[in-house]
């Protein structure tokens, strides 16, 4: 078998983050796309595949293509929640390997903070009619049910969950674009208001506006691009349920399938991973994911994080931008995991030994990082998608 044509991420960008009432989901995606293509030294005319996900249009890929003035040869509007963009990487890579396209543009935009739409009850249709009428706030309530079961089975404490938020904030302190940068302690997390037991406010991701874009290019285009390509080594995606009541085991996510499969397809093992980008919608999401991926034994992820192993200076740096908990979380965060992992593998922060806005305080470059595992989770622990990236 001849070697397959490889694919790599050659451009990434965020749009404006935080609160952006002057932008729409479309202008956010246009701005992010423009910046990501400019970084790569490519133009919109080079793009032949468009990938996006959202619930802001009956057919987001069509709405976005019209807005951008594109007639792409390949369209993908796969929506499996916040992990959609890791799935898009897999689909784009497959299309590139198959010779269907040369350059893919993956985008996301959200104005959920300005719209104040997160968490509003919707009419209960199809399977949702069996859950909506009881009043569980979604998605936080579903994650709270998972956390309660996990703590019951393994004797895990709220303090151990809180360690995830503390680790994220330590990284956010090194990211000038992070929404919250002031240090927090475990006590701060536990003292924040309870939302749905056992989850406190600081166990929950931010609610922000924002957008992002990722450009993926075929190997034969790499010599044309202005950045150091970050190679897509492996990918896997799955779903286990859509309603939280139908999740087979509240303590095991689809990561148990997609983590090992993506690593196997990449031809690497857990020991080869230098950097983690793990969807942190809630603190519990991270603990369940670390265990399901196989980086920790069941019930041990809290102690793993508490020991500082994922924090700055730790052996397995995780969510080095501050994550959905402290940096940004515009509804479907998955694209930002890819953006940060790409920047780390390229060494973008190497020329910033200090924080750009705070001289004398350390930056966030993970020295020597060559292989990253990026893991998205969508819905209420419903879908997972894992991507393995490496420095070219």
């Amino acid at each position: 078998m001849s070697p397959r044509r490889r694919a790599a991420i050659v451009g990434v960008a965020e749009s404006e983050l935080g609160r952006t009432p002057h932008l729409t989901v479309l202008s956010q995606q246009a701005r992010a796309s423009s910046a990501a293509l400019a970084e790569a030294g490519l133009t919109l005319g080079d793009v032949d595949g468009l990938f996006t996900a959202g619930n802001w249009s009956w057919a987001p890929a069509l709405t976005l293509a019209e807005y951008l003035g594109m007639h792409p040869d390949h369209l993908d509007g796969t929506n499996i929640g916040g992990s959609s963009f890791e799935a898009h990487i897999g689909h784009a890579t497959a299309a590139i390997e198959a010779g269907l396209i040369d350059v893919a543009l993956i985008t996301y935009g959200s104005t959920q903070r300005s719209d104040r739409t997160r968490g509003r009850p919707r009419p209960g249709t199809l399977t949702e009619q069996y859950e909506q009428p009881f009043g569980l706030p979604q998605p936080v309530g579903a994650y709270a049910l998972a956390a309660a079961r996990y703590m019951h089975e393994y004797g895990v404490t709220s303090e151990e969950l809180a360690e995830v938020a503390v680790s994220a904030r330590q990284w956010a302190a090194r990211n000038p674009r992070a929404y919250h940068r002031d240090p927090i302690t475990v006590a701060d997390v536990l003292a924040s208001p309870l939302i749905a037991e056992p989850l406190h406010k600081l166990d929950c991701c931010l609610v922000t506006d924002g957008g992002g874009a990722v450009v993926v290019a075929a190997e034969d285009r790499w010599q044309d691009v202005a950045t150091r390509p970050v190679v897509v080594r492996g990918h896997a995606e799955t779903t286990t349920h859509t309603s939280i009541s139908q999740m087979p085991d509240l303590t095991v996510t689809g990561a148990a399938r997609t983590g090992p499969l993506a690593l196997e397809r990449a031809g690497v093992t857990h020991e080869d991973v230098d950097l983690l980008a793990i969807y942190d919608s809630f603190t519990i999401t991270v603990l369940l994911t670390l265990e399901s991926l196989g980086f920790c034994k069941p019930g041990e992820a809290g102690r793993f994080v508490a020991a500082g192993r994922t924090a700055p200076g730790g052996e397995l740096p995780m969510n080095t931008n501050g994550g959905g908990l402290s940096y940004t979380h515009p509804g479907m965060y998955g694209i930002f995991l890819l953006i940060e992992a790409t920047r780390q593998l390229r060494g973008d922060f190497r020329d910033q030994p200090d924080q750009p806005d705070q001289p004398g305080r350390p930056g966030r470059q993970v020295e020597g990082a060559e292989l990253a595992l990026v893991h998205g989770t969508g819905g209420v622990l419903s879908s997972t998608s894992t991507v393995v990236l490496s420095r070219s």
Binding site: P123, Y130, P133, L136, P137, G141
Partner: protein, 136 residues
């Protein structure tokens, strides 16, 4: 008062909601693999068999997980704190429900069906809630 989210009853869910109005919990059972099925559908999620028949649940089960909700949206905001649980019914299916009654429940506790309204509004639906078996 903000509206409650509406329940959009369809051809497949109508028997379930009709049963709730009568104080019953109607599930399905697969003739091919004998397993209980919920929510209702035309194919068995365990064996893809198409022979699904009605199964009347006993209305008893065990709490698989639960959360006390302190912040909710819309009409539910006025009801906090309240308890949502995932119940493992004795027939072998899991469903979400609201815990009602004065007795709090813990994971592993036995619970029993109690069909009730969660709201005084005239259009509030009858819902399959559960209450603790001990001390009820």
């Amino acid at each position: 008062m903000p509206d409650l989210p509406s329940i959009v009853i369809d051809a497949e869910s109508k028997p379930f909601w009709d049963g709730v109005a009568l104080g019953e919990l109607r599930l399905q059972r697969c003739r091919d693999c004998a397993r209980a099925v919920f929510p209702a559908r035309v194919v068995c999620p365990h064996c893809f068999g198409e022979g699904l028949e009605p199964l009347l649940a006993a209305g008893t089960g065990t709490v698989y997980s639960k959360t006390v909700v302190h912040r909710a949206f819309g009409a539910f905001a006025e009801q906090v704190p309240f308890t949502i649980a995932l119940i493992d019914l004795d027939e072998g299916v899991r469903m979400m429900s609201r815990i009602v009654g004065e007795t709090p429940v813990a994971i592993g506790d036995r619970v029993r069906l109690r069909v009730t309204r969660l709201d005084d509004a005239p259009d509030a639906p009858q819902l399959p809630c559960f209450r603790a078996e001990v001390g009820a």
